[in-house]
Structure formats: C-alpha cells, structure tokens
C-alpha cells in the first residue's frame, strides 16, 4: 500500500488524460481517397497493426495523413497525435520530426525538470512510455510506419 503513490505516478504519466482521450477519440482515423501512399506497421509483440494513408502535394507538403488499425491506448493515441502534428509539414521536415521523436523516445528520461522532449506540449504526453521500456514500440509504431510510407516500404515491424 505504501507504494501506491510512486506507482500511480508513473502509471499516470503513461496514461495521461490526453493519451486516454486520444485513444478513445482518435483524430484522422480512416482512409484517404485520391490513391494515397499506404504503409502498414505491425508490432508482433501484441499484434498491433496500423495502416497509414498519406498524400503529398506538388510542393512536397504532407497534405493528407490518416490512419486505421487496432492497437493499445498508447499506439492509437500516438498515431492520432502523429497525424495532427505532421500534417502540413514539408516532407523532409516531417521525416526529420518523426526520426527525432523516435530517437528521443528511445533515450533515457531527461533529468532536468521542465526540459521538454519536443517543442509540442501534446507530443510530450508520449514521454510517459520512457518508464515502460516494453511500451516504447507502441508509441513509435505509427511514426516508424510514416517513415516507411515516405520510403515506399510497405510493411514495417517494430520487432528488433
């Protein structure tokens, strides 16, 4: 019982209200028309499967970005956040952003209080996975799938 506090703390970090909210009400969930680029991401650990639909316009801007699939709260919330974050970015920017996020999530938690992982408050809600090594792949699945889509790779797996 004495442990309940610290335990609740990191669980609450993982399942922040924002995450639960996005998991229950994901944004940009569904297909895109106009023959979009597609890619599928699989996390064989838990059977999570995400499909990404992507349209890039002539100015190399991410014009459309949606997803479908099944997954845990973390992977669905992360995908939802990904679509809102990367839309309207330039292709190279979005690619860089996704790479940064993946590498940041794989780094240990910053010791300095108040230091932000990324510049977006919303995206930083994902940081709670750092206390849950086996869940990092859930948070990165959609971002990795996004990078695969940019590189025309059809199936990605987090199993490494």
């Amino acid at each position: 019982m004495k442990r309940d506090n610290s335990e609740n703390k990191s669980l609450k970090e993982l399942y922040r209200q924002l995450i639960i909210h996005h998991a229950k009400n994901p944004l940009n969930f569904g297909k895109l028309s106009n023959n979009p680029i597609r890619a599928e991401g699989i996390n064989p650990l838990c059977g999570d499967k995400i499909r990404i639909y992507l349209n890039i316009n002539e100015a190399d801007t991410i014009e459309g970005l949606t997803f479908e699939g099944t997954g845990c709260a973390i992977s669905i919330a992360s995908a939802s956040l990904m679509t809102t974050t990367l839309r309207n970015m330039k292709k190279y920017q979005a690619n860089q952003y996704a790479l940064n996020l993946i590498s940041n999530l794989n780094e240990p938690k910053s010791q300095e209080a108040g230091q932000l992982m990324m510049d977006s408050q919303e995206i930083n809600a994902l940081e709670g996975v750092k206390d849950f090594p086996s869940r990092i792949k859930c948070a990165t699945l959609s971002w990795q799938t996004f990078i695969s889509a940019l590189n025309n790779k059809k199936i990605t797996t987090t199993e490494k």
Binding site: R3, Y15, G47, C72, S75
Partner: protein
C-alpha cells in the same frame, strides 16, 4: 530432488501444495516493488531450484560430449543424457527409449515430422488436416511443406466456445489425408481436444495423428500408449524444465521408416563419400552434439513433476482455474474468450474498450505477469474478431492469493480507463 512438501499425496491439498512455491526462485521475487504473481506459464514455466541446480551440477561436474568418448566424463555425460531419455520414456509411458527423440523444442519436433515423415508423401492430391485452434508452430511447418509440394492444408473449424468441432474434423478425414496434426490443449484458450475420438477415427482411415502436446504435459498425466497418438511433441520450458530442449515421441515403426532429418555427427554409423549408413533409433534423428545440460534439466523437471504427482497438479490447477473464472465473471466489462467444456490452466479474456496490451502493462506495474496479444495463434484471434486477448495461465506454483491479486489488479485497470 524432492519438492519441498512432505510426501506424495493422492488427493491434492492446496495448503500443502502451497509449500512447493518456495522451490521456485523466479516466483519468489519482487517485480515493480510487488511480490511477483506469475500467470504466464503457458508461454514459459518457471524452474524449481532442483532443476536449476541439476543443470549447474551437470555443468560443473559431469560435462563432456556424449556417446563418442571413453573417458569418465564422457561416460558420465552420456549417462545423464540417456537417463533423462529413460525418465521421459516412463513419464509418458512410451514403449521404449527408441521412441523418444530429443529435439530443441515442440517447434523443432513438428518440423522434423513435417520434413521427414510427411513431405516425401505429399503431392497435389494429398492433404494435411489441422484445426483452427493451432499455435503457429503447428500451422506454419505444414504451410511450408504444402507450398513446396502442392498438397493442401485443410483446417477443421472451431465453435464459439473455442473448441474443435470434433465431428466436423472427423468428417474431413479420408485416405488422402497424410497426417492429422492437432494440439492436445490450446495455448490461447486452454481447450482440451477430444483426442480419443479423433485418433480412433483417423486410425480407421489409417491416417496417423500428430499431437502438439506443448500445453498438456505439465498439466495432466500423459499415457501415450493409452492415447495411441502416433507422434507427440512437447517442450522442456513449458514443464518446469529449461529452454532449448524438447521431445518428439514417435511410434517406433513410423520412426524406423522415416529418413533422417538433419545430417551430422551422432546420427550416422559410417560416413563414406560413396554413401553413409545411418545410426539406429533414436540417434538417427539426433544430429550433432545434443543439448546435454538441457536434457539433464528436463530429467530433473520430470522428477519434480512425478514427486508432486500429476494427479495432484491437475486437481490443484483446476481449483484455481475455477476460482479465476468465477472471479473474472464478477467484473463488469470482462468477457471470457474460450469457454470449452474441458479447459485446463488457461483463461483468455477481454475488457470492453481496453486493449489487452494496456491491461498487461497496468498489471505488470502491480507485479502481475500475464500475456497479451495473439499468443501465436492468430487464426484463433481472427475467429473471435479480436486483435488479441489478455491471457492468464496457471502452473503448479500458483495459489489462491495469486488469483486474488490478479482480480484486484484488474480493478485498477478499469479505474485508469474509467
């Protein structure tokens, strides 16, 4: 080599059985600052100290290569290895040790039968019959050889309780079926297959039956002669033994007629470039240096199971499973997946609107280990229209408190997602 409870008792006594628990060092630790509740034995069971010690003992006193040496250590290592084979032979009541092939696990055992027994018999007119309930290890090897030969893989259906529909399976058997390959107990749902009926029916068509016993051997007494299965595959690490070792039981006359699977040392009598003479059973199928320490550990695991008594284990686990099922049904939003009439040591379930992965994480945070996802049985998940389930599975070392902690842990899951 004695489990830490007083003596073999014919009726299980949960109280006394509880004493076994202290033999398992992995179980007696804190995980995330809570005493561990391990409900993932269907994926891999834990080893009693007796098994761990026997492996160390073998490695520090008796190790050398087997069969090929005349010095003392080689002789001792061979003794350890062959005594384990004898032990396994008696444990499942096989006729003799020629029927006991050491492999690296259930998957390896099934692949051996696929390549050595089945593949030479396959052509596009032939079929292999499995069920919709199988673990990937009892699906993919058959897919691979069917692809290579043009034979068909046919799949017997299951019902909404997660049981093979025995009559339909039997109806699919004809003389073009080269092998029926089915699990004894489903790892995803715990359903027990009606093997007697199926094996009888198959034998009436002279079709042999391979049983994937990975989930059965540590939960019930196997009498392979009474069962009359033609092949029976299982893994050490699911029966209190180590990883990297498993068994293929095969009827001697079938094994006799099969060509070798892998080539290498030990499986030959004589090697010449003009031709090679294969060794007798069981060595014909054991190419290369075997997993001797694994065999030592498996032998010790069987000693342990024998001491505890398979009947006692069955009763003990059944009481716990019933309690778990009853308690799970009291929780709002929990749906049990798999409600077979005859179910052993495993219960799968979902919670409304909560992904199994999240259930797993929140339980783990409380020191409770369950498995989540597809359990290497994607067709079962597909049948139920689910991406995965949460699965709690039991073994000899679990107790009522484990079930209580597990149920309380689920309350917290629901609280977080409320």
């Amino acid at each position: 080599m004695n489990p830490s409870f007083s003596e073999k008792n014919e009726t299980a006594d949960i109280g006394e059985f509880g004493l076994l628990r202290k033999d398992f060092p992995t179980i007696n630790q804190e995980i995330n600052e809570h005493p561990l509740v391990y409900l993932d034995s269907a994926a891999s069971s834990q080893m009693p100290q007796q098994v761990i010690d026997e492996i160390s003992r073998y490695q520090s006193q008796d190790h050398s290569n087997v069969h090929r040496g005349i010095h003392t250590l080689s002789h001792r290592a061979t003794e350890v290895y062959e005594t384990s084979r004898q032990n396994i032979c008696e444990f499942i009541n096989a006729k003799n040790t020629n029927e006991i092939i050491f492999t690296s696990g259930t998957t390896d055992s099934i692949n051996l039968v696929a390549h050595s027994y089945c593949k030479p018999k396959l052509d596009p007119s032939k079929k292999i019959l499995i069920s919709h309930l199988e673990h990937h290890s009892n699906i993919v090897p058959w897919q691979l050889i069917c692809e290579q030969t043009g034979a068909s893989l046919i799949v017997a259906p299951i019902d909404n309780n997660g049981q093979i529909i025995t009559e339909q399976l039997i109806g699919m058997i004809d003389s073009n079926v080269v092998l029926v390959a089915i699990s004894h107990i489903s790892n995803a749902l715990g359903s027990v297959t009606s093997l007697n009926k199926i094996i009888d029916a198959a034998h009436q068509h002279e079709v042999p039956v391979l049983v994937d016993g990975a989930q059965a051997v540590s939960h019930m007494k196997i009498d392979i002669q009474a069962l009359n299965a033609d092949f029976y595959a299982f893994s050490g690490h699911k029966m209190l033994g180590p990883t990297g070792i498993g068994i293929l039981y095969g009827k001697e006359h079938l094994l006799e007629d099969m060509p070798p699977y892998q080539g290498g040392g030990d499986m030959i009598l004589e090697v010449k470039f003009t031709g090679t003479v294969y060794n007798d059973l069981p060595y014909k199928f054991e190419a290369g240096t075997p997993n001797i320490s694994g065999a030592a550990g498996l032998g010790a695991a069987i000693d342990y199971l024998n001491q505890a008594g398979m009947h006692n284990i069955e009763v003990h686990e059944n009481i716990l499973l019933n309690k778990m099922i009853t308690d799970l049904q009291t929780i709002d939003g929990v749906e049990l997946i798999g409600r077979a009439e005859n179910q052993v040591a495993v219960q799968s379930f979902t919670i409304k609107d909560i992904h199994s992965h999240d259930i797993g994480t929140i339980l783990d945070h409380q020191g409770i280990a369950i498995r989540t996802g597809h359990h290497c049985a994607m067709p079962v998940m597909e049948f139920f229209g689910l991406p995965g389930t949460a699965r709690a599975s039991l073994s000899i070392y679990n107790n009522e408190e484990d079930v209580d902690r597990f149920i309380k842990g689920l309350d917290k899951v629901i609280e977080i997602f409320a």
